[in-house]
């Protein structure tokens, strides 16, 4: 059983399109995240939800909108895609927001915008 699963694994699209990435965790965790990994492998947090409530919203363009229908799911919708959005997007979860709670990552969605 995959603990954190995200779909699709690959996403190739043209500039200006709108796309979504879905994420589900079956660990019973309270907290979920979206991270962006750029071409240099640098990881930066985008959003964090705890029990369906947004708790972190880093300086991400308004074109990115997360949605958490329940605490097991956190989806990411991106409007008007730009070339600079090309990256690998990782979903993750942790038991709670306590600092020692390790993160469990999905396998990533490689987004390529042409």
């Amino acid at each position: 059983d995959t603990a954190v699963s995200q779909t699709p694994k690959y996403l190739v699209t043209q500039m200006g399109n709108d796309k979504s990435i879905k994420c589900e965790q079956n660990l019973g965790h309270d907290t979920m995240y979206w991270y962006k990994q750029d071409s240099k492998k640098f990881l930066k947090i985008m959003f964090s939800y705890n029990n369906k409530e947004l708790i972190i919203n880093e300086t991400v363009p308004n074109r990115f909108s997360p949605k958490s229908p329940d605490k097991a799911h956190l989806n990411l919708h991106i409007n008007s895609l730009e070339l600079g959005d090309s990256a690998v997007y990782f979903c993750a979860s942790s038991q709670n927001t306590v600092g020692g709670s390790p993160l469990h990552f999905g396998n990533g969605t490689r987004l390529t915008v042409t």
């Binding site: 492998k41 640098f42 964090s48 993750a92 600092g99 390790p102």
Partner: protein, 114 residues
């Protein structure tokens, strides 16, 4: 705010040789420290973590790390590496502010040569 510096972007070693991947952090408060491993085309997996107690922490796959508060370091070591250890390794730190404030280093690419 905390930050993490991984001192080597790439580390090539021969199979069965020992390896040390260096990580330094800065924080004005007590920290929780983590090492994650990312195999090609996969998400990050937790290798080990330091929360408190013994400064020598053992993780999966024969890796260990030592927390050194005076040097603000958390170096990762393995006495004898295998080809399968080829991956990207990330050091990460958070303070008591919560798991959502986890900050990652830039990553170290470990390449094992036969």
């Amino acid at each position: 705010a905390q930050s993490v510096t991984q001192l080597d972007s790439q580390v090539p070693v021969f199979e069965e040789a020992p390896v040390e991947l260096r990580c330094n952090y800065s924080s004005s408060v007590s920290v929780y420290l983590f090492w994650y491993v990312q195999y090609p085309n996969q998400g990050l997996q937790l290798l080990l973590k330091y929360l408190s107690g013994s400064t020598l922490v053992k993780g999966i796959n024969g890796f260990e790390a030592e927390f050194n508060k005076s040097q603000t370091s958390f170096h990762l070591r393995k006495p004898s590496v295998h080809i399968s250890d080829t991956a990207e390794y990330f050091c990460a730190v958070t303070d008591g502010g919560g798991a959502q404030k986890l900050v990652f280093g830039q990553g170290t690419r470990l390449t094992i040569n036969p």
